[in-house]
Symmetry: C2
Amino acid sequence: MGTTARKKSAKKELILATAAAMFREKGFAASSMRDLAEKIGIEAASLYNHIQSKAQILEEIIDGVSEKCQAHLDHLEKSNSSSLEKIESLIRFHTGMMMNLFEAYSVMVGQWMHLEGDKLLDFVANRREYVKKMEAIVEAGIQKGELKSLTPYVVVLNILSAVRGLEFWQRSAKTHTAKEMEDNIVIHLIGGIKK
Amino acid sequence: MGTTARKKSAKKELILATAAAMFREKGFAASSMRDLAEKIGIEAASLYNHIQSKAQILEEIIDGVSEKCQAHLDHLEKSNSSSLEKIESLIRFHTGMMMNLFEAYSVMVGQWMHLEGDKLLDFVANRREYVKKMEAIVEAGIQKGELKSLTPYVVVLNILSAVRGLEFWQRSAKTHTAKEMEDNIVIHLIGGIKK
DNA sequence: CCTACCGATCGGTAGG
DNA sequence: CCTACCGATCGGTAGG
């Protein structure tokens, strides 16, 4: 990251991370700037030395995750893997994001509707485009005879929804490891489309 | 039932239905009693002649859906269908709920965390029990050799998550019918566990 | 079902 | 990063 304008102070990162945890748990609207400040150990007014508004916190959390997803898909589209390999890569990438960026990823998929104005419109447009690109990968696999003839839109929705379902999984319970969860999602969802 | 009681009941149903639509769209915390009253065409204070509190509205919406799910599963457990038939029934029941009780079902799966006190504890306990019962059905299918040896918990999560993913589906777009969505979910998710 | 109103809390600002 | 504070809005009540 170095000296670019995108560099963020440690305090701002702390605010974003703490806010992500709070937004995920209680929802954006039910999270107050006073509660956020208290968790960090400062007064509410002091938050505004690091961020401009509550809305901006949400935007930055979501943009950070969204850009990583876009980058992965762009890279995947250029590869010459098989359709099945690409779909497995998508499943493993998204489960990995859910595991490693749990709070931020959950906020993206569950709190995006609290974005405002152009930020909301952009997110919805980007998400639709992302889904369309995933559909195209599924469609190509069907055309090549690698996959069953299913509605690509449903396959894409099932994959993204299954990943989202991991939010419900209790990591602390330790009854199932992250690897077991991920592998079983792959087997179930790849198994259901493989010809 | 007298005329007054019938009117009051109809009005309460209108409040619950209007609130469900609003809670689903904006989230529970971001929905105000004033906005709710305005959509119905009365003053905010008048709502309290029909309901006791904002929290109670959420409770009644969720309880209504939750009880229907419990009833279906209880009935299914007593049937002597095969494991695969039971799982398909679960998928089709939940997709049907999502299609026909769209607002209320979405509020249950997306707004339950705004329940308070015992209502929250009860919901979480009931949901865990529901998942355990679904897992038992999957487990029985594995034991009988009907299904692949997958982690039942993941299969259950994938099924319930796929149904939840239908919230994202734009019914108005008409590019895919309800039946196409449901059938494709069944083929994908049953296909992935069938031995 | 309304008017009038309550105390609490919200996001955010001014000024140091 | 703080104290002090703003106007707006919240869920809900009293009384008719």
